[in-house]
Symmetry: C2
Subunit: 340 residues, 2 copies
């Protein structure tokens, strides 16, 4: 048990070969005899050699670390993506630095500066605000969910998202098919492409079913939280209500369900609900929630692979990947018509 980790130089002394050779053995790079290899490897193990990533990174200018920028890690949907991302990257022996921005531009900026200082080889932007995009200009990047608004075509990035427009449409069709006519949408903010697309898809499907613009009420909420959903539902209910509600995030729908239940409104009898993301709280919540499902595993896997491709200098097959979504139908819209 050596107290601290030994360096390549000490291994060199011990084995009697030069540091260059030790380095070659470690990286399996260049030529060396079988015996040398064996001797060095034995010493490496015996003395519990741990490579100094700072030194390596300094010399090679590339470090097997990527930054993951996420707005809120306690959001189950983001946490799942992050998890799968990390698994995949770790399998490729990359480590990840996860940064929580809380949607604050200044925090994001500081995180980004830190990541640049660390010389990370790429950045993964989960649902990122476009604010600090110029900061990472030339760095390999993959955006998940939200499309960055960019000034110039810097190009070194990819976008992966699921079909939000379709998701919104599916939600609308489900509510319409179950007989709803007075629709309402709770949308998170008005400047996020993801949530805007969900609303647009919803509207379009409502249109196609013959509803007019006035029949769809849209409420913009400033946060994805159960409290917001609860609060808004009470307000809207006072002001006339709805018979079908689509929330662009599950937490809002959970809050809505709570508010409705408390006011004695039956679900799905008097009002039907559809959420988005199909999180655990949707599946096992007060009212099992019909929700639009997107595979966090696939998103994570794809995003990781794409980022690594960009880092390796290969052009990713596609700059923009859109994944399918499907609707999980549950009690909140009255149906056990789950189609797996």
């Amino acid at each position: 048990m050596k107290p601290d980790s030994v360096s390549i130089r000490e291994i060199s002394k011990i084995t009697g070969v030069s540091v260059a050779t030790v380095s070659r053995v470690i990286n399996n790079n260049g030529r060396f005899s079988k015996e040398t290899e064996a001797r060095v490897k034995k010493a490496l193990k015996e003395y519990n050699y741990t490579p100094n990533l700072a030194a390596r990174g300094l010399r090679t200018k590339r470090i097997a670390t990527v930054g993951v920028v996420v707005p809120d890690i306690t959001n189950e949907y983001f946490a799942r993506i992050t998890l799968h991302l990390q698994e995949r990257l770790f399998a490729r022996s990359y480590s990840t630095i996860i940064c929580n921005t809380d949607e604050k531009a200044d925090i994001e900026r500081r995180h980004l500066d830190m990541l640049l200082s660390q010389q990370v080889s790429g950045v993964m932007y989960i649902s990122g605000t476009p604010h600090a995009f110029d900061r990472l200009s030339h760095l390999p990047a993959v955006f998940i969910d939200r499309e960055p608004k960019m000034e110039q075509e810097t190009g070194n990035y990819s976008l992966i998202e699921s079909d939000n427009y379709l998701g919104g449409a599916l939600a609308a069709r489900e509510l319409l098919q179950k007989g709803c006519r007075r629709l309402c949408v709770f949308k998170y903010r008005d400047d996020i492409s993801t949530h805007n697309a969900r609303e647009a898809g919803f509207r379009q499907a409502a249109h196609e079913a013959g509803l007019r613009d006035g029949d769809v009420r849209v409420e913009i909420v400033p946060a994805v939280s159960v409290e917001q959903g609860y609060q808004r539902t009470r307000e809207v209910w006072q002001a006339g209500g709805f018979d079908g509600l689509f929330c662009t995030a599950d937490a809002l729908a959970v809050g809505a369900a709570g508010a409705l239940r408390q006011q004695g409104v039956s679900i799905p009898g008097q009002a039907k609900l559809v959420g988005y993301d199909d999180t655990a709280i949707a599946r096992y919540g007060a009212v099992p929630l019909t929700s639009v499902h997107q595979s966090t595993e696939e998103i994570g896997r794809l995003a990781a692979d794409t980022l690594l491709q960009i880092i390796d200098g290969k052009q990713p097959e596609q700059r923009h990947i859109t994944l399918p979504v499907h609707l999980m139908v549950r009690e909140s819209t009255g149906g056990h018509t789950e189609e797996a």
Copy 2:
């Protein structure tokens, strides 16, 4: 817009002072005149200088990064602690590398090797298994929730946990007070101090109320998941059932509620439930769940501060901190006796 970040040497060239002076200005270390300072700072800003942390870390052998080892980031309780941890550390300009172990010893080991390679200045162990503890032997460490089994008193660590024993006792008292007599406990694994303490506290309180050992059935479950809770509840219900169930994690209780509801068992009428951690799913679940609350914010804050103290070489005030818990009483035990 320079394409890549400039180095200290280039700033030196630009300003006409030596690299040493530039470094001094950057670190506000050593002597330099006001004018020099101004000139250098201007250049730093103008050329968008970003320190190379690899080089700095190599030279100083300390890097402002700590590793956070967590079993499952999608678990809301862990995610919350991680979040608060990160906020606090970030405020002290430390960055964090979050590692998800999935409770697997080998993954944990690899993560730990990586953290050592990164020369992190400390490690935060959220609910960590003790497996790889020898690996970090001399590294500053803080353990949250679970006590590491250690061979020798290496001493360079602290433990922060909440009062699990009391939490278990509170759960028992609530169930007993509401009239339950046939108790059951779903405990996560049998080798985790946290969950063992919760059970022990529960048992002790039951004892004090006059119940005998036979009156408390204990089921050990291999995972904290809704599915496990659901499955076990069906089994136990076949085998005689209970009128009061305590789950050492909320997800289990949510699954139990689902199973009971499906079998037509009324909650809290025929069976009462108590969970642990007071997660969102407990508050807004199918049956609002009575649950033992522990402040993730306080845990995170305290853990971060303690770790930084150890890193700075100060002995933390206390090696072992136990935080209070309290019971949130909700519908699953039939009571709106919430006492804030």
